[in-house]
């Protein structure tokens, strides 16, 4: 079984599925000849030709809009947005159209497309290259949101996303692209969308994270008896796994990069406060980015949840 990083795992998933399913086409800025700015689509244009791996003009709304048209026609387009911070021009296409075509047409036309994009902070890149605005997409009925936390799950989740009958936003934590290496089987395996993973069992506190925060939480909380949940799919998210854990531990800490206010942590906290409040011993704590734009390199570590803040939250809860 090959050992590979997340870039390679995603590339493998795309390549294998393109071999299996000729409805899969890739499009985006620099995805073809250049193989994507992170090399995620490296070699795919060579392998599958310019009709299936399409270098587009610099136009995010047009890219997603074109992908929507392809999906309506019966293909399964995979649009790459170069960085999550450049998806906002396509926001209308995603929310007014991709998320609604099935519903608007009462099921007659469907929109099975995947939008892949690098996401998250910590790569010392310019402004708008380190966003984590996943919560926006979780507030869109008709859109699914998936965030892998490593190579193995990335491949399995992407294969599920590529086969999903509805639009999926697939957020790839940039900081992890080459950080984690794992054994990733060649060939077909899928991980179901909508299911979380217990990344580490524990009994004193439930810690929920996703994407690159998972790696940080696992490291920082090694000395604690924490049950760590890797959410994997944010929308629809796995309420069952979360509630089961929370009922067991009675304590919850949610960790995410995005600004606290209206981040996805809010939805998790609200759901827990709605469904399991009587099992809680203390407050539901969020360790999140502050309500500021992600800063540039020299300040970004002041922004991201760090060991001190994560441990402080857990310690506080353990006092209840």
């Amino acid at each position: 079984m090959p050992t590979c990083n997340m870039v390679q795992a995603i590339n493998m998933a795309l390549r294998e599925e393109m071999e299996r399913d000729d409805r899969i086409v890739l499009l985006g800025e620099d995805v073809g000849k250049d193989g994507g700015v992170f090399r995620v689509t490296d070699g795919l244009q060579e392998a599958f030709g310019e009709q299936r791996v399409i270098d587009t003009p610099l136009a995010e709304s047009g890219i997603v809009g074109t992908a929507i048209g392809m999906a309506l026609y019966g293909l399964r387009p995979v649009a790459e947005i170069q960085f999550l911070g450049f998806i906002y021009p396509a926001f209308d296409q995603i929310f007014s159209h991709a998320s609604r075509y099935r519903n608007r047409s009462r099921g007659r036309f469907t929109c099975p497309l995947v939008i892949r994009t690098p996401y998250g902070a910590g790569i010392k890149a310019p402004e708008l290259h380190e966003e984590s605005s996943e919560a926006f997409f979780c507030h869109m009925p008709g859109i699914k949101v998936v965030v892998p936390s490593g190579p193995y799950v990335a491949k399995g989740l992407l294969l599920s996303a590529l086969r999903d009958p509805d639009p999926v936003i697939f957020l790839e934590p940039t900081r992890l692209y080459r950080m984690i290496k794992e054994e990733v089987p060649e060939g077909d395996y899928t991980l179901p969308l909508g299911k979380a993973r217990i990344a580490r069992e524990g009994s004193e506190v439930t810690v929920i994270a996703w994407g690159s925060m998972l790696e940080r939480v696992l490291k920082v909380l090694a000395p604690y008896d924490a049950e760590i949940i890797d959410l994997l799919t944010l929308s629809p998210f796995d309420e069952e796994t979360i509630l089961r854990s929370v009922r067991k531990t009675g304590r919850v800490v949610i960790v995410h990069e995005a600004p606290r206010t209206c981040g996805f942590g809010a939805e998790l906290a609200a759901t827990i406060a709605e469904e399991a409040i009587l099992h809680l011993r203390g407050p539901i704590l969020r360790v999140a980015g502050p309500d500021v734009p992600v800063p540039l390199a020299k300040l970004v570590e002041h922004y991201l949840p760090d060991a001190a803040r994560i441990c402080a939250a857990v310690d506080e809860l353990l006092r209840y």
């Binding site: 809009g65 392809m70 296409q93 099935r102 519903n103 099921g107």
Partner: protein, 360 residues
């Protein structure tokens, strides 16, 4: 003082316009498309049906039986003429003011009435027709036609995709991004703009400073042409030619149909606040129906008996559609969950149950 530099001219462009049938019903025979008597009458009947449907919709709205409705009065030739050139296999992406297109393509009248009455099921396009749901959001559906065209070409289908939109839509970013992508890949797509001179209260001259809309095609290296949008033959010919170009690999075409919105923007609008009745009266003289009627009369295809019969048939058809629409059972609460995803999320399923309980 502004010095003007002498510069080298490196390229030139020209904008063309196509006119075939004049308001008196006299056609330029050299340009006239070869249509049979049946086809010519069919065109007339579709124009007539479109106008009659429109009138009935306005009445129903006044009686509170449907919601806000956008009239197509004056634009029938642009809609019917272009749609008449389409094949069933082509893909059509309409805006919200395309009743004449729907009618020409055989979209059930009953469904149109239901849609405008606020019943989502009106947008369930029957199988065999590739008419996408209307895009209420102006111009943002243009890239979808481009994507469908790209998919059709990838599939090797001899199919064109067609996007309909108004003059206002030409100001939108998605118009630009869609056109540009279509140009780069020379996709089989036809862009049909009904320049009806107004975007609600904003006149064409305030929408853009370009002298014609057609010339915007140059920015994308694609074909562009202006046609008399009240001339059903000109619209039909230009569209057919563009469709053939598209299906034959010749790339996209932008057709500006120069026409006029005779009515208010919608039933919620009052156009008297912002435009003169003189302008409207002037445009009424260029009526698309009347000019085709004159043409047919001159050819001996039209007479009063025919007209009386047509009116009767049309009325009955519309009456029936209204009856069908109004007798359709109200949509059930579950309808709001049914088609968001292929399968409900757990949360949706719970909300659906709750609402089912509440129904009891």
């Amino acid at each position: 003082m502004i010095e003007v530099m002498p510069e080298t001219i490196i390229d030139t462009f020209s904008v063309s316009r196509l006119d075939i049938l004049d308001p008196e019903g006299i056609a330029d025979e050299s340009l006239l498309p070869s249509l049979s008597r049946e086809d010519s009458l069919r065109l007339y009947e579709l124009l007539f049906l479109s106008r009659a449907f429109d009138g009935r919709a306005l009445n129903l709205q006044r009686e509170g039986r449907i919601g806000t409705y956008p009239s197509i009065l004056g634009q029938e030739a642009a809609q019917v003429g272009s749609a008449f050139a389409l094949k069933k296999s082509d893909w059509v992406f309409p805006s919200f003011r395309e009743t004449g297109v729907h009618i020409t393509l055989g979209y059930p009248l009953e469904l149109l009435f239901r849609y405008w009455a606020g019943d989502e099921r009106g947008l369930l396009c029957p199988d065999g027709l590739n008419v996408l749901p209307v895009s209420v959001s102006v111009g943002t559906h243009i890239p979808h036609a481009v994507g469908a065209a790209m998919a059709a070409r990838y599939r090797g289908d001899q199919v064109a995709a067609v996007a309909y939109f108004g003059d206002g839509a030409t100001s939108k970013g998605d118009f630009h991004e869609g056109f540009n992508i279509a140009g780069v890949y020379r996709l089989p797509v036809v862009f049909i703009c009904q320049n009806n001179q107004w975007a609600i209260s904003v006149p064409r001259s305030r929408q853009t400073a370009s002298a014609t809309l057609a010339q915007k095609a140059f920015a994308y290296g694609i074909e562009g042409i202006q046609v008399d949008g009240n001339d059903v033959f000109a619209v039909y010919s230009a569209t057919r030619q563009a469709l053939e170009r598209a299906r034959g690999g010749g790339g996209p075409t932008f057709i500006e149909c120069f026409t006029y919105r005779i009515s208010h923007h919608t039933t919620a609008d009052d156009a008297d606040r912002y435009r003169s009745s003189a302008e409207v009266e002037e445009w009424k003289q260029r009526d698309p129906l009347e000019r085709l009627r004159r043409f047919l009369e001159k050819r001996g295809y039209w007479n009063k008996d025919y007209q009386a019969d047509l009116e009767k048939r049309t009325r009955e058809m519309i009456d029936q559609a209204v009856r069908d629409a109004e007798s359709a059972p109200a949509p059930e609460r579950s309808e709001i969950f049914r088609t968001v995803f292929e399968k409900c999320t757990p949360r949706q399923a719970r909300d659906l149950e709750v609402s089912a309980d509440a129904d009891l």
